[in-house]
């Protein structure tokens, strides 16, 4: 039986780990390679790096981080943030990423998703959707949550599946950093709409939120940052909790 995945996410800026609250107020807190190794040794099913300020700054540091991490962690490594072109994807994969997540570039030009999934295979193309609720709908945001595109998130999810995305990483901008739990309504709507796996993100404050993301949001995987990063829970504790709630996990 396929297991639900727990994916700790490390926000990286200038080669160092940070975790923002609603994408601002950054606190420096560690070496990404060491952190990733701790997570993979602790049973993380995948590791995710998000180069948060990559759109604005020199992002060469991320390549070294990816290179060093991939020599020490033998679980899948997803890298995102500031990925603009097929060349960027190629470079990250060559440095040792197993999957690349695309956000702004996928919104601006779906062809990047089409071309990269053809060239490298859908299995390594993750489209990251940052969505915020507006009335009865959700709208897609880009540039680390700064720009509202007005695009309907559900329609966009479908379009990305058709363009060749292998997975969708869905982040609720309303919940991110709040520790109030995932936006279950958003997750379940997108999960039921597409036939590719979805990853729930944004808002985890406690372990039962992970359960909700899978049971109610129908996500294949759950991503969290701060609850792991600040040592509130270990990945192992999270897995044991999910297991106790009847969710299949790799222990």
């Amino acid at each position: 039986m396929l297991k639900n995945r727990i994916i700790p996410c490390l926000d990286v800026k200038n080669g160092r780990v940070v975790k923002g609250i609603n994408f601002v107020d950054l606190q420096d807190a560690g070496d990404p390679v060491e952190q990733a190794k701790i997570y993979s040794d602790g049973g993380a099913d995948e590791i995710c790096f998000l180069d948060i300020t990559a759109s604005n700054e020199n992002r060469d540091t991320i390549y070294e981080v990816v290179k060093d991490t991939s020599k020490k962690c033998f679980v899948p490594l997803t890298v995102g943030g500031g990925v603009r072109s097929v060349d960027d994807i190629s470079k990250l994969l060559n440095y040792g990423a197993d999957k690349v997540s695309i956000n702004t570039a996928a919104v601006q030009n779906a062809d990047v998703v089409v071309q990269s999934s053809k060239k490298f295979g859908s299995q390594c193309i993750v489209v990251a959707i940052d969505a915020k609720k507006k009335g009865e709908k959700w709208e897609v945001f880009t540039h680390g949550g700064r720009n509202n595109t007005g695009i309907d998130a559900l329609e966009f999810a479908k379009k990305m599946e058709e363009s060749g995305a292998g997975e969708l990483l869905v982040t609720s901008m309303d919940r991110d950093g709040t520790q109030a739990g995932y936006d279950i309504d958003l997750m379940s709507k997108i999960s039921s709409m597409v036939n590719i796996p979805t990853i729930a993100s944004g808002g985890v404050g406690d372990l039962h939120h992970l359960v909700d993301g899978i049971k109610l949001g129908n996500a294949s995987a759950v991503l969290a940052a701060s609850i792991f990063h600040y040592g509130k829970y270990s990945v192992k504790e999270a897995k044991e909790y999910l297991d106790s709630k009847g969710i299949p996990v790799r222990i």
Binding site: K3, S70, P76, G96, Q123
Partner: protein, 208 residues
């Protein structure tokens, strides 16, 4: 000993290289190349594969003489060869991803899309799944039954002769996830991404 990872533009092979180097340490020489002479004189060959069946076969065909060299290595010299993911799938006679494409024909069978039962099962099959070991193999030495391995694929290898099946995994159907025919080994899952237990399989292959 020399182990060669075949580099034929099959997508991302960094993780395969990293994992083999990690396991090999200084004991074994790991080479990454499409050079025919290096492949011929290797003790073992690893055939990775990402992307579609068609793109991988096209990749092999794009290097003059590569398929002949691999045929010679696997079928005449009968030296150990490990196919990973699409690397395994290409052992088949035919694949149906993108378009009907002829495979290497080393283990008769076909590669077809996993039945998602009308959307009940998401594709790709991504994540950790348990392997059900059907037959003892040297590459499974020290691997417990129902160990978790990391999968990423939408197509499955369906061999004609079921006796080549080493292990299956449960996803919609019983998906063949490891096969062995004499000196030819293949895994549908990614040992290079399956943590310590995956590295153990790589170690077993290197020590064959």
């Amino acid at each position: 000993m020399n182990v060669t990872i075949v580099d034929y533009n099959s997508g991302n092979i960094s993780s395969v290289i990293n994992s083999f180097k990690e396991v090999a340490k200084d004991k074994v020489n790991i080479k990454v190349t499409s050079d025919l002479e290096t492949i011929k004189t290797s003790d073992k060959v690893v055939l990775p594969g990402q992307g579609s069946f068609k793109s991988c076969i096209d990749g092999l065909n794009s290097i003059n003489g590569l398929i002949d060299t691999l045929n010679e290595f696997a079928l005449e010299s009968k030296k150990p060869l490990l196919g990973i993911c699409v690397g395994l799938q290409m052992f088949a006679d035919i694949g149906y991803e993108e378009t009907e494409t002829k495979g290497l024909g080393w283990i008769s069978g076909k590669v077809s899309k996993i039945d998602n039962q009308g959307g009940k099962f998401k594709l790709p099959h991504i994540g950790w799944n348990e392997i059900n070991i059907m037959k003892d193999s040297k590459i499974f030495k020290g691997i417990e039954n129902n160990s978790h391995m990391y999968f990423v694929h939408s197509y499955e290898f369906v061999p004609d002769d079921k006796s080549v099946i080493l292990a299956i995994t449960d996803y919609s159907t019983n998906v063949v996830c490891a096969a062995e025919k004499q000196n030819i080994f293949g895994t549908q899952f990614h040992p290079e991404k399956s943590d310590k237990i995956g590295l153990k399989i790589i170690d077993n292959f290197i020590n064959l």
